[in-house]
Amino acid sequence: MRARYPDSDGVVVRDGVEIRYERYGQGQPAIFLLPTWSLVHSRHWKMQVPYLARHFTVLCFDGRGSGGSGRPGDASAYNDAAFAADALAVMDAAGIGSAVLVSVSCGSFWALRLCAEHPERVLGSVFIAPTAPLVPPLAERRAQRFGEVIDDPVGWQTYNAHYWKTHYPEFVEFFVARIFTEPHSTKQIEDATSWALEIDGETLVAAHCGLECCDAAATRRLAARLACPVLVMHGTQDAVRGYAEGEALADCTGGALVTLAGAGHFPHARDPVKVNLLIKQFADRARR
């Protein structure tokens, strides 16, 4: 059973892709919990929604390629512009004029686009463990060769298109363990694994390839246009996107940085109380 069910939900269709969204609560301002990589769907916000919905209007949706939304097969359907356009369509359908954005990991790409290109719709933006390719990736990820055929890949070598098509569950097991580096995270690992297994390796390949356009230059260009308040939170033990990425994003957006010492890549799942309080504090200030 869920702690809280949506007050309303719906589906918007864009370019033939169905996007399923949910809306909770009444308060001001609206908080828009954005999707992240298609590996998981909007239930990854389950520790935020009930609390935030008591204070704010909360909007979330399953990103294309996940959950109840459509799963286009073509990589071009997964670029950051498509996610950003989905987000605007969801806001329109739910009747939300402007909102505080909250994103995790590569959700930072669509958040940056919305902030830069639709500033009138954005009151502020919270980036949790953002993907911000302004600094080199983590050393352990240098082994990654996405397009190559690798015999018996190990570790980050399993971050590989060919491997996902044949050994998707093994990759999920590896990757989710990298998300949760904190001890005693079994429940969070089980949750993320089960959500990830709702899709298949082919879909994740397409979703990955769609984001290859999001490089350092594009990130920097969008970040430079940000005018809204920004809060970045990033764990020092993040083994997926290094802490330095969050630092760099806070630096180039002029945002506040909350360092989560000891936290991994999904602090909103592993340290929900602290993250909830930080989001509320930020949203309370954005209201004015």
């Binding site: 308040p229 506040a256 940085l257 909350v258 360092t259 010492a261 504090q281 930020f282 200030r285």
Partner: protein
């Protein structure tokens, strides 16, 4: 002594009337604190200014009619337009373009006028117990309001609010004493009451009458319209037990201005005096909301990942705490090597901590000086330490606010407060602010009145004791462990006063006993002779060490002892007297005599005390117990009116059979010389002082983590 003195002060002059102001701090934004003058003035903000000034620029003013401002006699001088013009002039003089206004009672209408008429100067308005006529006045005030100008025979209560009565001999004072009794319905408000009455008596009946008759505050629809014209953010604080202004007025002001209302349940009309911690936090939160103070860059460490940390507070009053606390900390680290200890401490404690390589928290620099305050309270051989502690109220709250910020940011597991009066008092008054486990250490329990203080002082000490007992009774979870530095028999046989319990029984129920903590091990019989010769003392002389601690308080005693020296020297030719004057007393003020040595500072004084043949000291616990532990003969002179030295320390020394208590006032040089002759070099038979006190205290503390 004030907790913080202004960085700038000045006077504005309008139409020949001078109005004084003070400016504290440099931060943004600026706050203008507007008192309900002339019945009160800028000092009424003393509990909140020091902590606000650490973040913001704070401007206070004595309104016309009181304080350091002029006291015009014509009612028209107190028209709202005049007062608001004063306030704008103060802002101009202080170089402040825009300010957040904080106004109390009948100053709120002035603040509303400023906000409505000069919106470009006002970023927000925080109104405390607003006297704004948007709801009916308190029923008990209506009759006196109506008969203000009538002649009333022998009025009492609210009817004393009468222009003729105020002009009668003593009438104004009688009214003020009644009025502030009504405004502080909270129990244990004696200090706030004394302050408020004192400020009201800074002005006089004529200025008060002129202000009252010139006030012309808007009422009814006019007042409503004024509130509606305010566009800036508004917050109203209102005491539920305010007998001056009904809460309905505060509620209505909040509604009409679109502001928020915080009802302070159980509070009277002076919450900024009686609940300064809560009021400061409400002001700070309001200002942060207005400025939208962006969230700042910070680190939060996951709970399981945090090192174990303790914050140790060591009282700077008296010299004894620092060394015993260092000893406890060392034992604690022996038991719990993983524990990090930060110290929030001030001079002279920091000197000891620095020498020991302990880590002093940088926020310590913000602490207002308690030892300077105590020194300022002393005169001759006299220190009324109970009243000195009462008058230290604004320093305690200022330092508590520093502590609270440190403890909220520092993620401490444990707070150890050795007579950290501020933490103990304000955590009991604001229990929701407690963080971590809390250890309270003290070496005395119970305020005792000095006999010459009469009924009033006995009433006050009983009231303070009652408040402490009620604190512990109501919130037993604030002190997780209370440690008495000593043994049950060290506790005086008195009661807390009135119907309150016996001190020893109550203490035994609420404290654990650690035994005394000297902070050092006295030299054994074999170590004494070499130490004595190492310090330059010879076997054929009788060494008398005279020491008075580090403050300037001891000069009177030194003078008496130096005067006794020739007589004593005549009777005891082998006498050698070492007089330690300390850093604040110039040795040159004393006459030179053969065999009399004056020293400004003596390194490791306790070693000299350990080997001397006689010591002459004040009645402080640390020094006398060092002499007791070292089994030296000594004369001690408790400071006049110092209840701790006169009762608590004396009782403890009597239990150890140690020392000879002398009354400074009735002792002349002849008597001192006679005692020196009698006691120097004579063996003593004191009870042993335990040497495991620090370890026992550390054990009691370590059980909490």
């Amino acid at each position: 002594m004030r907790a913080r003195t202004p960085d700038r002060e000045g006077v504005v002059q309008r139409g020949g009337v001078r109005v004084a102001y003070e400016v504290f701090g440099h931060g943004q934004p600026a706050l203008l604190l507007i008192p309900a003058s002339p019945i009160t003035h800028a000092r009424s903000w003393k509990g909140i200014v020091p902590s606000l000034a650490r973040r913001f620029t704070v401007v206070t003013t004595d309104g016309r009619g009181t304080g350091r401002s002029d006291r015009p006699r014509a009612p028209e001088c107190y028209a709202p337009a005049e007062v608001t013009a004063d306030l704008l002039a103060v802002l101009d003089a202080a170089g402040i373009d825009v300010a957040v206004l904080v106004a109390h009672c009948h100053a709120v209408p002035w603040a509303l006028c400023l906000a409505a008429d000069h919106p470009e100067r006002v970023a927000g308005l925080l109104a405390i117990d607003p006297a704004v006529g948007v709801a009916p006045p308190a029923p008990h005030t209506v009759e006196s309001e109506r008969r203000w100008a009538e002649r009333v025979d022998a009025p009492s209560g609210w009817a004393m609010r009468n222009r003729h009565f105020w002009r009668q001999d003593g009438g104004y004072r009688e009214w003020i004493e009644f009025f502030f009794g009504q405004q502080l319905p909270e129990p244990h408000s004696t200090k706030q009451y004394e302050d408020a009455v004192g400020w009201a008596l800074d002005t006089d009946a004529e200025a008060m009458i002129a202000e009252r008759e010139g006030r012309a505050a808007p009422a009814g629809s006019e007042a409503e319209a004024l509130c509606r014209r305010v566009r800036c953010p508004v917050r109203v604080l209102h005491g539920s037990d305010d007998r001056c202004q009904p809460v309905a007025r505060g509620r209505r002001v909040a509604e009409l201005t679109g502001g928020d209302l915080v009802v302070l349940e159980g509070a009277g009309h002076l919450p900024h005096g009686r609940d300064p911690v809560k009021v400061t936090r409400l002001i700070t939160g309001f200002v942060d909301g207005i400025t939208g103070a962006s969230m700042h860059t910070t680190t939060w460490t996951r709970g399981p990942c945090r090192p174990r940390r303790a914050l140790y507070l060591s009282s700077p009053i008296g010299l004894g705490h620092a060394r015993r606390d260092v000893a406890v900390a060392k034992e604690l680290k022996r038991l719990r090597p993983e524990l990090d200890i930060d110290w929030l401490a001030q001079h002279p404690v920091t000197a000891v901590l620095d020498a020991e390589g302990e880590h002093v928290h940088p926020a310590s620099q913000w602490l207002a000086s308690e030892s300077a305050h105590v020194a300022s309270e002393a005169a001759g051989h006299d220190l009324h330490c109970f009243q000195a502690l009462r008058r230290m109220d604004e320093i305690l709250v200022a330092n508590f606010m520093v502590f609270q910020e440190v403890v909220e940011e520092g993620l401490y597991d444990l707070v150890i407060g050795d007579e950290a009066w501020d933490v103990d008092y304000y955590w009991h008054e604001n229990p929701e602010l407690k963080r971590g486990q809390n250890v309270w250490l003290t070496d005395f329990v119970g305020y005792l009145p000095m006999p010459d203080g009469g009924d009033r002082e006995a009433f006050l000490t009983t009231d303070y004791n009652a408040e402490m007992i009620e604190h512990i009774d109501r919130y037993p979870w604030i002190r997780d462990r209370a440690i008495f530095v000593g043994n049950d028999e060290d506790i005086v046989p008195d009661t807390f006063g009135g119907n309150l319990p016996a001190i020893r029984d109550w203490t035994t129920r609420h404290f654990a006993y650690s035994g005394y903590i000297t902070g050092f091990t006295p030299p054994g019989p074999d170590e004494l002779p070499p130490l004595r010769s190492q310090l330059g003392y010879h076997d054929d002389e009788l060494v008398c060490v005279v020491a008075v601690g580090g403050s300037g308080v001891g000069r009177a005693l030194l003078e008496k002892v130096v005067a006794a020296y020739p007589l004593a020297k005549k009777a005891v030719p082998e006498l050698r007297m070492i007089v330690v004057t300390g850093p604040r007393i110039d040795p040159a003020v004393f006459p030179e005599r053969a065999g009399l040595e004056l020293r400004g500072y003596v390194h490791r004084l306790y070693q000299h005390l350990c080997v001397c043949d006689l010591a002459i000291v004040q009645g402080g616990l640390t020094t006398t117990m060092e002499l007791t532990a070292a089994k030296r003969p000594f004369l001690y002179f408790p400071l006049g009116h110092h209840f701790e030295q006169n009762f608590h320390v004396r009782h403890r020394l009597d239990r150890y059979g140690a020392g000879h208590c002398m009354d400074y006032a009735t002792t002349d040089p002849d008597l001192i010389a006679a005692r020196i002759t009698e006691m120097a070099g004579k063996p003593v038979s004191y009870r042993d002082v335990e040497t495991d006190g620090a370890a026992r205290a550390a054990q009691l503390i370590s059980e909490l983590i």
